[in-house]
């Protein structure tokens, strides 16, 4: 028997209100681990035969909240949210920090599978095996902070009433959506606490389409039994000690990036990536630390790093805005990317984005895109419902963000995300505006550019990733050190990859073995198991959805902007060489066994035991042959 698992999954059908426990064979768990890997497996088994026709925002889609065997053991607890993505029509393993995964495992579940859709707003309440679908109409329409306050209080009162002898109840862990998710905005997040978010993939919209406002879970049991507790304790110490040595990383988290990435590596989005360099000292980490951070160390379950901080603006126009850090991605996307260069404005925008339940990266990207169209006079003030979307005008961007979350006026157009909005605006204006869209396969590119060549992503990172522009799943060569096969391990074991920085890779595999009692060699992971998960994700991405399909020859590509020379800074004039990208892409296809058209090869799929996947790809191969 494989250890380290609670041993059952909760399946909830919101259409029929049927609730049941299900199990997976040990072999499935051994092959797909949990989180992202298991999500790909579940989605393929259940929806694969009709994948192209499944609307991610329809009742057929399946929403997954999955832990992994390392959740709660490897320092830095997370939960993986997945399903068919309304952004890419593929599968994204979108993880978010917090106690949810730990509470779920302590409640006796390794994951939750949500199918169907509810007629009225509901939330799911779990206390060990005591599971209920409860009315959520009183929190429907409420923002993040109101939702958390109301549901925390309500759930604790329920627990107190039902188990009055227990003593004081701690809060259950919550995952929830804001107004954006309710309105099926494709850039909506699944949120935890106030400010933690599973953004990539757009699963907030999937929750909204199912009218599932939140999931609350309280588990009173221990974490699942492990194979070698002594070793697990030792490995926890190895990971902790490694993190404790990085003093500045713990102090600042990614919060130094807003200045550093712009000034040093010159790879930060500035005004919708028209530039990737700035040297605004007003945006330095010291300004955040000294002016707005009110909590310097804030962490999730078992985390030694505390990369998150809490910021609050206490004076001036934006008084009362509260958010975490903001971390580097929020600093960049709701900062320089919109021409905003003060911590106060940045905290204000981040706080608003959190409250609305939007993804700061995806929404910051689409707002930057709209602002560039306004700068180029492609979108007018009238098109923007009277908003003068000038760079640096935080209040104008705030007004636009609200419209997006509520799908009001022009917000409805932009709520589709950058790629779909670009297609629609292109039609409206009868011109190509895709060249201003900085995304890959429907997923906006994280705030780490490739033109300077000084940041961590490679020239093909966003071209070939099965999660598009996701900066936490960038890929490249060689496979063992630079590809997303390593990220698939983090996202399937489900723990925070930040705590694995600087930890020898062997520790991860040792950890897996100490928890599960199952041997996993590096070779087995990179050559077989991770590869199988990658092929499944790639297949579903290529099969696409009713509204969009991706053609590798067109869409396995960098955004056009990345081929424009950098206009300023220490790497002025630098750009990416298209011929080199094509060559690296070809080599990458070869390394992961995709044919010259980017389709997983038949013999590899058969060897991996994915015959049905191979059959599903036959029609794509024939289409390619015709063209």
């Amino acid at each position: 028997m494989i250890l380290g698992y609670a041993g059952k999954f909760l399946e909830v059908n919101l259409s029929t209100e049927n609730i049941k426990d299900i199990k997976f064979d040990d072999d499935v768990l051994k092959d797909y681990v949990g989180g992202r890997g298991l999500a790909a497996k579940i989605l393929w088994d259940r929806l694969g035969s009709k994948w192209e026709t499944v609307d991610p925002l329809g009742p057929e889609n399946i929403l997954l909240f999955l832990t992994g065997p390392l959740t709660g053991y490897f320092p830095g607890g997370r939960i993986c949210v997945s399903g068919k993505s309304p952004q890419s029509n593929g599968v994204v393993g979108s993880t978010v920090g917090g106690e949810f995964g730990v509470e779920l495992r302590c409640a006796g579940y390794d994951g939750i599978i949500v199918t169907g859709e509810s007629e009225k707003p509901v939330y799911l309440s779990i206390k060990d095996s005591d599971v209920e679908i409860r009315d959520a109409s009183h929190v429907w329409g409420k923002d993040a902070k109101q939702t958390v306050a109301t549901l925390t209080k309500e759930c604790r009162e329920h627990l107190k009433k039902r188990y009055p002898q227990y003593g004081e109840w701690k809060e259950p862990a919550l995952l929830y959506i804001g107004p954006a998710g309710e309105n099926k905005v494709r850039t909506a997040v699944v949120a935890a606490k106030w400010t933690h978010a599973a953004g990539y993939g757009g699963y907030g919209a999937v929750m909204g389409s199912k009218k599932l406002k939140a999931v609350a879970v309280k588990g009173t049991g221990p974490l699942p039994e492990v194979a070698d507790l002594k070793k697990v304790k030792r490995l926890i110490k190895v990971v902790n000690d490694n993190a404790y040595e990085s003093e500045m990383w713990r102090r600042w988290g990614t919060g130094a990036g807003g200045y550093e990435v712009g000034a040093k590596t010159s790879s930060e989005p500035v005004r919708n990536w028209q530039d990737e360099w700035h040297e605004e000292r007003s945006f330095g980490v010291d300004k955040f630390e000294n002016r707005v951070w009110i909590k310097q160390f804030w962490s999730d379950f078992g985390c030694p790093t505390c990369c998150l901080k809490i910021a609050m603006v206490k004076t001036g126009k934006f008084k009362g805005a509260i958010t975490d850090n903001p971390d580097y991605e929020m600093q960049a996307y709701l900062g320089p990317n919109l021409g905003v260069f003060t911590p106060e404005e940045n905290v204000f925008l981040t706080s608003l984005i959190d409250d609305l339940g939007l993804c700061g990266i995806q929404t910051g990207n689409v707002m930057g895109f709209a602002a560039e169209l306004f700068q180029r006079r492609i979108l007018t003030k009238k098109d923007l419902d009277g908003i003068e979307l000038k760079w640096g005008d935080a209040e104008a961007f705030a007004a636009l963000a609200k419209k997006i979350a509520l799908r009001e006026g022009v917000g409805d157009l932009l709520a589709e995300g950058t790629y779909r909005a670009a297609l629609n605006i292109g039609k409206m204006k009868k011109m190509d505006v895709l060249k201003y869209a900085v995304q890959s396969k429907g997923i906006s590119i994280g705030a780490h550019g490739i033109r300077s060549g000084k940041d961590y992503p490679e020239a093909i990172s966003y071209v070939c990733s099965v999660q598009g522009g996701d900066h936490t799943s960038t890929t490249g060569l060689p496979l063992e050190s630079s590809s997303e096969l390593g990220e698939i391990f983090n996202d399937s074991g489900v723990y925070c990859n930040f705590n694995s920085f600087g930890v020898p890779r062997k520790v991860k595999f040792d950890f897996y073995k100490a928890v599960t009692g199952t041997e996993l060699t590096r070779e087995e992971w990179y050559k077989t198991k991770a590869m199988r998960i990658l092929q499944l994700q790639r297949t579903m991405l290529l099969l696409g959805g009713p509204d969009l399909k991706w053609k590798p020859e067109i869409h396995d590509a960098n955004p056009p902007r990345f081929y424009e020379p950098l206009p300023s800074g220490p790497y002025k004039g630098k750009t990416v060489d298209k011929a080199r990208v094509e060559e690296e892409k070809r080599r990458y296809y070869e390394a992961v066994d995709w044919d010259e058209n980017g389709i997983p090869k038949s013999e590899t799929l058969v060897k991996l035991g994915l015959k049905d996947v191979d059959r599903a790809l036959e029609k794509l191969r024939r289409q390619r042959f015709k063209t």
């Binding site: 302590c106 306050a149 004081e168």
Partner: protein, 175 residues
């Protein structure tokens, strides 16, 4: 640092708590030999995000819980001053919870008995791990003649204080 013979107390600076819950991890490993947050004698509450804090026994100078116990299941350790639970004698009546000004004791999640911090026989694991991380929310000091019961407060009371300290008047809205 107290001398070896002196009883100890765990001084606590709640507003510094990162909410990492490493104290829950080591406490449950020490007492239950597994990671079990709800069976931890020290529990991190986060009723308002950011206002995370540890909730655990303060060893009040007048020990109201010990006096309230109808079966004499609770006693005071001569060595450490901690409240000790005789598990066989405890009938899980909850009278100690009601007697505690902070409603700190809680039931063991699977066994019919109360759990209370026992100071790990004088070497509290939670303090060690908190210091390792340099959060220093918890510090060992000598137990003197002070009003330790002041620290025994309910999660709601502490949350209100911390939320106000952090977020000012706005904190009220989130409690």
């Amino acid at each position: 640092m107290p001398t070896k013979k002196e009883p100890i107390w765990i001084a606590r600076e709640l507003s510094k708590c990162s909410g990492c819950r490493k104290c829950e991890i080591v406490c449950s490993l020490f007492h239950e030999n597994c990671i079990w947050p709800e069976a931890s004698r020290i529990r991190i509450f986060m009723l308002v995000p950011g206002a995370d804090f540890p909730h655990f026994c303060t060893q009040c100078e007048d020990y109201p819980c010990v006096h309230a116990c109808p079966t004499k299941a609770l006693s005071i350790s001569k060595k450490t001053g901690a409240v000790l639970v005789k598990t066989k004698a405890c009938i899980a009546c909850g009278k100690c919870i009601d007697a505690c000004p902070g409603r700190i004791p809680h039931m063991h999640p699977t066994e019919n008995r109360i759990i209370i911090c026992d100071l790990c026989k004088g070497k509290p694991q939670c303090v060690k791990v908190c210091q390792e991380g340099r959060w220093n929310v918890l510090t060992i000091v000598s137990r003197r003649n002070q009003a330790y019961r002041l620290y025994a407060r309910t999660p709601e009371e502490i949350t209100r204080d911390l939320a106000t300290k952090m977020y000012g008047e706005q904190g009220e809205e989130y409690v």
